[in-house]
């Protein structure tokens, strides 16, 4: 696509004044972000700071109390999750959400197939177009799984995978949606340093290969610093600092409320 190169500086996501309260309690307050295509944004902050809530607002799983979200110049503030997904936002969840009884392959195909409409009659009659489609989906899924080193577990039910594999499978599934924006909620949680590094390397790679825009919620500070071009720090639902990793690292407010103990 010739436009792809010119689009690199286009605004992909524009969030203004986003707020969400649960029974009067402000979980997110005045959150804003303007994301340019190709960026990797990191969101950090202590527990209960509202990071996952921000993701849930982006993907329509929660309705904001106030504010607006625009994705590719389309207002998605109150859109349902399925519509937002079809516009090109893929995500993973903090507490892993796989299709437990389905195989790894099934999990990935379930996402891949969203781009290819199937016709019920063709499926029932098992026409060659349908068979080819299924074959194509399967080979694409296998390739993606192999990329994340899951080729051994292709036919195992998702529920039977180890914790780290489940996390990786969830990333593969989100990626299979072929999204423009990928939201990763603690992608390395529960992995040992070695595995975490591998996943981060893969994230960078898919970012480059697929020209993806990514937002990562992470606790692994060194890794966030390494991979993100920009970082937002959330505390009590509000952005307390924002900027390049260096800037954030040296922000006194961040040190006080968040990094203090680690530093």
């Amino acid at each position: 696509m010739p436009t792809a190169t010119t689009q690199t500086n286009h605004v992909l996501l524009e969030v203004k004044n986003l707020s969400k309260s649960f029974r009067g309690l402000m979980a997110v307050q005045n959150y804003h972000v303007r994301l340019v295509e190709g960026e990797i944004l990191g969101i950090i902050g202590p527990n209960g700071a509202g990071k996952s809530t921000v993701f849930n607002l982006f993907t329509g799983h929660l309705r904001p109390t106030d504010g607006s979200i625009e994705f590719r110049n389309i207002d998605i503030t109150n859109a349902p999750p399925e519509e937002i997904a079809s516009l090109g936002i893929g995500r993973t969840f903090q507490n892993i959400r796989l299709f437990g009884s389905m195989s790894c392959l099934g999990n990935v195909i379930a996402a891949l197939q969203m781009k290819e409409r199937q016709n019920l009659l063709e499926a029932v009659l098992n026409l060659s177009r349908f068979r080819e489609q299924e074959k194509r989906l399967e080979s694409q899924a296998l390739a993606l799984l192999a990329l994340f080193n899951l080729q051994e577990q292709v036919n195992a039910p998702a529920l039977s995978l180890s914790y780290g594999d489940q996390r990786r499978l969830e990333i593969v599934r989100a990626l299979a949606l072929n999204p423009r924006l990928l939201l990763l909620d603690e992608p390395t949680a529960g992995m040992n340093p070695h595995e975490s590094a591998e996943v981060i390397r893969l994230i960078k790679r898919i970012h480059d290969d697929y020209t993806l825009t990514i937002i990562i919620i992470e606790h692994n500070m060194p890794l966030v610093m390494k991979v993100c071009s920009r970082i937002q720090v959330l505390n009590y639902g509000e952005i307390i600092a924002e900027g390049t990793p260096e800037k954030v690292r040296n922000d006194p407010r961040v040190i006080e409320s968040y990094l203090g103990r680690a530093g």
Binding site: P81, E82, Q113
Partner: protein, 344 residues
């Protein structure tokens, strides 16, 4: 999941064998066996279509027998001989009073009406989950029951709807059964089935992939209602006389039991479940009339078959809470392979 030629051949061979068995039964089995075989075929359609709705989407409907009733009444009204219509259903709307349809279109229309009703109620019901969907669909069953009982001009109310032509036979039932089995099997291994099962396993994740959960449940529910309606129509032309109370809770329990014994989500499980329960209940039904083993005489105890079935069912759930097959499928190829190994 892989589709290759050998599967097709095995499936074809299986279907061929099934029909050969049917022919043998038909030729030598007599009327009693024939009735059992027809009954199994109809139950197979009911259980498989219930599986499509309940096993694939995880929404446990207790109201499917309502669709069966709709299919049965619709096709019965359409095929009733005109002479009987004028005496038994004098208040029919004139276009119906003048129609006497052939079997196949009537069955299809019966299924379609059931599907239409499913669509209308499904639009709202498919948003419910857990025990609430069971309650709501059970409510639907009660509503169907009440409407059939009181819509005198169409259904004769609570009175027996008799004189339905006896069109159903072993052949058309089993062609339908194989067809339904095949279609649902194809759905299970297509994008439609994956959407249903994804939404069943994790609704939130499914929505985050862009799966329209309500739509995919609705598809399952409507298709399932269609097949259930077809089964109802076949049943109507098998039994030939019925009333609204023929389609109520005891029917519901028996179909649901077959489904759960086989395993929710497993089509081969449904087949096994239907056969097993049918055989077992036939044996027990005959045994409860009393029998003698040598000097030991067991007197007739009516109700004993239900009592024993109930105990067996509880025991079964204790040992296999997910049914015989869970949601896995019997793999015919694997079976043959192992046999070969043993033989070799």
């Amino acid at each position: 999941m892989k589709q290759d030629r050998s599967t097709t051949i095995v499936s074809l061979a299986g279907i061929g064998l099934a029909f050969l068995a049917l022919w043998l039964l038909h030729a030598f089995g007599g009327y009693y066996i024939e009735r059992i075989v027809i009954g199994v075929g109809i139950n197979l359609i009911l259980v498989i279509s219930l599986n499509l709705a309940n096993g694939f989407t995880g929404l446990f409907s207790l109201g499917h027998i309502g669709f069966m009733a709709i299919g049965a009444y619709a096709s019965a009204i359409l095929t009733l001989p005109l002479s009987l219509k004028s005496t038994n259903l004098p208040d029919l709307p004139s276009f119906l009073a003048r129609t006497q349809m052939a079997f196949l279109p009537a069955v299809l229309i019966g299924g379609l009406i059931a599907m239409l009703v499913a669509f209308l109620i499904g639009l709202s019901l498919m948003r419910l989950t857990g025990p609430y969907i069971s309650v709501a669909t059970m409510g639907f069953l009660v509503i169907v029951q009440v409407v059939l009982t009181n819509w005198d001009s169409m259904t004769r109310g609570a009175r027996t709807f008799a004189g339905v032509p006896e069109y159903t036979n072993v052949w058309n039932v089993w062609i339908w059964a194989m067809l339904v089995l095949y279609i649902v099997w194809r759905i299970k291994f297509s994008s439609f089935g994956r959407k249903m099962m994804a939404a069943r396993d994790n609704e939130i994740a499914a929505r985050s992939l862009g799966i329209n959960v309500v739509a995919s449940r609705l598809l399952a529910f409507c298709l399932s209602a269609f097949f259930t309606g077809v089964a109802g129509a076949l049943w109507a032309h098998f039994i030939t006389a019925f009333s609204p109370k023929s389609f109520y809770f005891s029917q519901t329990f028996s179909v649901v039991t077959m489904l759960v014994v086989g395993g929710l989500g497993s089509l081969s499980g449904s087949v096994v479940g239907v056969m097993l329960i049918t055989l077992l209940s036939e044996i027990l039904r005959n045994a409860e009339r009393g029998f003698a083993i040598g000097p030991l005489v067991i007197p007739e105890v009516y109700g004993a078959s239900q009592v024993i079935m109930a105990i067996l069912f509880v025991l079964f759930i204790v040992f296999r809470p997910r049914g015989l097959l869970g949601d896995a499928e019997l793999d015919v190829r694997k079976f043959f392979k192992r046999e070969k190994e043993v033989a070799g």
